[in-house]
Symmetry: C2
Subunit: 390 residues, 2 copies
């Protein structure tokens, strides 16, 4: 059942192939000095940087640049950003990039004026910012669909030395104030990155869907989003420049992880927990770490929620139910998921991401196992799932 919750999402979304036209107006209310953060500089080659700096200039902003955000943003990089935000006393942080860059901007927004060790307090101890603490407002220009970071309070940070990659979900005061979502901004992304984002989206939906036994509106919305991203992925994989497909993927990714479809659902997020541990050990693309383990993980969980997996087969994959047991249908649903992972070219095994048998125990140790799903797993089960996924 839906249960008790508060829903509030203040992020304003500008969507479409001219969405950047809103950027200057969106920036105006937020003070004069902007910390502009981005990744490896690909935005300078595809025209996005030019659009953004033009809007910053039109809005009369003074810009401090902070490039070099890596795919799995590190604690060291977080400290650098927080220090820069303080030193320049910026009023606003504008993130231009995918989920890593936006996650990073949110992390800097809480770390900049935090008294104490942000990594220890927010990520290790999972505390919230103190009421009244200064949090810098953040805006986002999205260049890769997948993480949903543009409309939520999440921020995943990696401690390379300790091989830990940990997500923290902040409240609405950390959510981006606005996000510019232009599907064309994702066209120049390498195919492997597009596919990583597509599977990340699918995983977000599945990890909220596969919990609970109730006939919850959230599950029906989740089924709609899964059907949408599957259909769009099949077009985009053939023609990455198909605007319609890329726009549906972008919009689905946003709604897959902006809290809506999680309402009334307990969630364990163990595919993300294991995937993040793989990421901390290999630096592999996030979505591919998830596709690499998903089928093994869900086959492991299946006996504890056969009916839900049967529904998944029937509603999401259109598999006829007639003459089949729930168990058979459930298995066919995971078969369909596995076939789709191959079809779109996502990782079907984690060996392809650089995982070796000798790493499995360490990866399992870095996995922050969570309760809340159909099956509470332990360290040995994580190793078994990883071995199955090799």
């Amino acid at each position: 059942m839906l249960g008790n919750f508060v829903y509030s999402n203040p992020t304003r979304l500008y969507f479409g192939d001219n969405a950047q036209q809103h950027l200057a107006d969106a920036l105006r209310p937020f003070g004069r000095k902007v910390l502009l953060t981005y990744g490896s500089g690909s935005i300078k080659r595809n025209g996005v940087y030019a659009d953004v700096t033009a809007a910053l200039a039109a809005a009369g902003k003074e810009v401090v640049e902070l490039p070099g955000v890596m795919p799995n943003p590190t604690v060291d990089k977080l400290c650098e950003g927080a220090e820069a935000a303080r030193r320049h006393n910026v009023d606003f942080i504008l993130a231009v990039g995918g989920g890593s860059t936006i996650d990073y901007a949110k992390a800097v927004s809480v770390a900049a004026w935090h008294k104490g060790d942000a990594w220890e307090d927010f990520w290790i101890a999972q505390r919230d910012p103190q009421p009244g603490a200064r949090i810098l407002p953040v805006g986002a220009v999205l260049t890769m669909a997948g993480t949903g970071s543009e409309m939520n309070g999440g921020a995943v940070i990696t401690h390379s030395g300790r091989r830990l990659k940990i997500g923290k979900v902040f409240g609405e005061n950390v959510m981006p104030r606005f996000a510019v979502l232009n599907p064309r901004y994702t066209f120049s992304l390498p195919c492997r990155q597009m596919v990583s984002g597509i599977f990340d989206t699918m995983s977000h939906i599945m990890e909220q869907y596969f919990s609970g036994s109730d006939d919850n509106t959230s599950d029906y919305l989740a089924e709609g989003l899964m059907r949408s991203v599957i259909a769009a992925s099949r077009v985009a994989i053939q023609d990455p420049k198909d605007y319609e497909a890329r726009s549906n993927i972008m919009w689905t990714a946003t709604w897959a992880l902006n809290t809506l479809i999680g309402k009334g659902k307990s969630q364990d997020w163990n595919v993300h927990m294991i995937g993040q541990a793989i990421g901390a050990h290999t630096d592999a693309p996030h979505g591919l770490t998830l596709s690499g383990i998903s089928t093994a993980y869900y086959r492991h969980v299946l006996p504890h929620a056969t009916d839900k997996f049967a529904r998944f087969a029937r509603v999401v994959w259109d598999i006829p139910a007639e003459g089949k047991t729930a168990g058979q249908l459930a298995e066919e649903g995971i078969d369909a998921l596995a076939a789709w992972i191959s079809e779109i070219g996502a990782a079907t095994e984690i060996a392809s991401l650089g995982v070796t048998p000798s790493m499995l125990d360490d990866i399992a140790r870095s996995t922050l196992i969570m309760p809340g799903g159909y099956k509470r797993i332990d360290h040995e089960e994580v190793i078994a799932i990883l071995r199955e996924s090799l």
Copy 2:
């Protein structure tokens, strides 16, 4: 395709069987004087009024009461409310009721300090409030699920003398600042009202779904919401006190009309346009005016969008497609809709709502026919649809 749009919805929702516990805190930021508006006084019998006045007292508010909002709020009542809001110089309007009461509160919020005739300017001429115009903030405590008014900027007002019932969709500055959604608050509603709200919800979804030819994420979300409200309605009709079913109905109704599933869709809203004209002539429950004409309307439109109606049959009603033409499947989808209208006890014909053959021409004249759907209809077609629905 999704196209270009801005999505922003500032309404904060408190959902659940203890949602009213948030009311005092939600009210606090909005000044001292509150205009409390509600309908016929049923809230005094079911305990909702006691909960609300306790929260108002806890928040230290001075309350001006404005009861007597009718099911189809009239222009005269709007003037009374606007005058009261001005005279008492209230800071905030709290609506306790269903869509009519919340629509009414929003109408008063723009009319109170509007220089000019609010009905002529906003509803007849469909203008927006001038930038900088004073608009009173509104909050809502929902007691009937259906209209979605709790999370949108819409307000339908009726001019009884002119037999006109017209909706105006305002921007986010008119959307409720918060809404309290407690499914138990809907338990004492008469079954006919519950069913009216259920069909209103279904109609909101269908009227956004049945447009365009693209493979749009909005359509997939719409299908999920339709499946959810159909499943929940079948439980609620047997046991109106089933909390899970009523909570899913309430949540679905909110998301059916808060702009999300309309993104990227042209929409004609002609079922609402005809239904509202019936309402202006009969004062019949809104949702029943829609159920009374929907099957005739959709059979009329079907030949212009056979594939979409076939998809509706397959995905929403789980009708097997094998061995059928798209046309057959499409017809079976509308048959399933008709059967469900009977099953839940919604109106299957408008004669039961007091419509007589001699009224059809007048009703059609009061219908504000809109473009944007699969078939642009004219006055004669409206009469034909009405006659078919008698």
